[in-house]
Amino acid sequence: MALRGRCWQIFARVKERRRDGVFRELLVAAGESASAEVLETKDRKEDGDENGDEEDAVERVLASLVDATCTAVPDDGSRTAVRDDASDSTPCTAVSPDTSFRRVRKQIDKDLPRTFPGHPLLDGIGRDALRRVLCAYALHNPAVGYCQGMNFLAALLLLLMEEEPAFWCLGALVEDVLPGYYGNTMLASAVDQAVLRTFVDSRFPRVGAALDDAGVPLAAVAGSWFLTLYVNHLPWEVALRVWDVLLFERTRRVLFQTALALIDVNAKRIVEGGRCDRLMECAVQIAPAQFDGSGEFILIFAWAI
């Protein structure tokens, strides 16, 4: 599996999160058969493969790096978030499929073909894996269940790692990095947009004024950037770099930095668009069109913020 996928698992503390057999039990509860890959995971570990030693070494170095820096990253408050009332209940794993799960399952089925349609790895087999991870997670954390947006996160994880680690990584994202984002009311998402708005007002007041004049909430532009962690809005390579930092820092700081960088680069265009009632026409283009694969540009901007 991709080195990046391995790094993300270390950043997300998958080893610490993982509990033996839980994923498989959830699949059974969801009425899913585990893929051969899930069943094999354990055996393969015991056998040890050719690159085992080398990979273990990489893992050890990365893990020590995470340990060394996790204290160094100041807690800027973005790690804690407003939680939905509903998500306060502890995630439990002992829920049998009932009416509400059937509803969730139906929704997931409906959204599978609408997740990166046409991507070669999300064919029949890839889609089955995505359904299993999302269904298992919905049962694992019924307070969140399944909320649209999570499909994109799980799909991206599955492109870089196997099902079970993807399941635990999804948990790390939903519970640690984005708590309250995918709950009943998505309150934390609204709060972050309000926070972003205050940043925009203080750094780019003309953009803030243009948004007000056009009657456009900032969330109309940036809401889905955060909810999908940019996977639908930036070229892949750039989005992956944002995820690297997001998972490494385990705070949402990089989401804000990237948003402010995008707005900074496009401020003139947004303000001019606003002058002729074309603010949204301009704003919807600011994420994908700009970079042409050379994403370093926006990242350099983001780090400077």
């Binding site: 929704q107 995918y182 909430p217 002729c276 949204m280």
Partner: protein, 220 residues
């Protein structure tokens, strides 16, 4: 391009009823069988002509899943028109209409024009909601009604344009276009050749004309 008015629309309804496909068919005249799921809101715009008058439609397409309701509610405010969409092949999407309507009544301005849309008329063999039921619901709640197919484009133009016509009639009848919460903005170039000739402008309103007229062509 100059236009007499800008109308804000919002498209609402359960997830998967075809809201984004309706918008795409209307703005781009194409149908995409599979497309990425809408997260939050998406946006589209198009110019239409109503009684020889150019109207710019600015359309907000919203996510349909229940958990997004609190997010999408903020888009009701300042909308002149709403397309409330259900899927004629899925009964539950019709049954949820009342709750959507309640949301709209609560959060939108009372003058908002609501068009009820029964989408996917091309898959009539899987129909679970009859046209008569749709008509009945619309009559009961004072909505305009159409069945559409975003796939074949049947009635899609009409859905957006008829809504605009109704809004124009309301303006003719004296709806205050200077009140921003009505979702109507007097457009660029409206001063000389646009609204004033058609009697669309409320005498009491102070339309913003002039200034922008020349600039609009150069901008963007």
């Amino acid at each position: 391009m100059s236009y007499a008015y800008l109308f804000k629309y919002i498209i609402i309804g359960d997830t998967g009823v075809g809201k984004s496909c309706l918008l795409l068919q209307f703005t781009d005249k194409r149908f995409q069988h599979v497309h990425d799921l809408t997260i939050g809101v998406e946006f589209g715009s198009r110019m239409v002509s109503i009684n020889d008058r150019q109207i710019k439609l600015q359309i907000w397409d919203t996510a349909g899943q229940e958990s997004f309701r609190s997010i999408t509610r903020s888009y009701y405010r300042g909308a002149a028109g709403a397309l409330l969409v259900y899927d004629i092949t899925r009964r539950e999407t019709f049954e949820h209409l009342s709750s959507w309507l309640e949301d709209a009544r609560q959060h939108a301005n009372p003058n908002m024009t609501i068009m009820l849309i029964g989408n996917k008329s091309d898959v009539a063999h899987k129909r679970q909601v009859s046209r008569e039921e749709g008509e009945e619901f619309a009559r009961e709640h004072g909505l305009v009604f159409l069945e559409t197919s975003a796939k074949t484009s049947d009635n899609v133009e009409e859905a957006f344009i008829n809504t605009a016509s109704v809004i124009c009639e309301k303006i003719d009848d004296g709806l205050d276009v200077s009140n921003e919460s009505h979702g109507i903005k007097v457009g660029y170039g409206a001063g000389g050749t646009g609204a004033n000739q058609g009697g669309f402008v409320n005498p009491g309103a102070a339309p913003r004309v002039g200034g922008g007229g020349g600039a609009a062509g150069q901008c963007c």
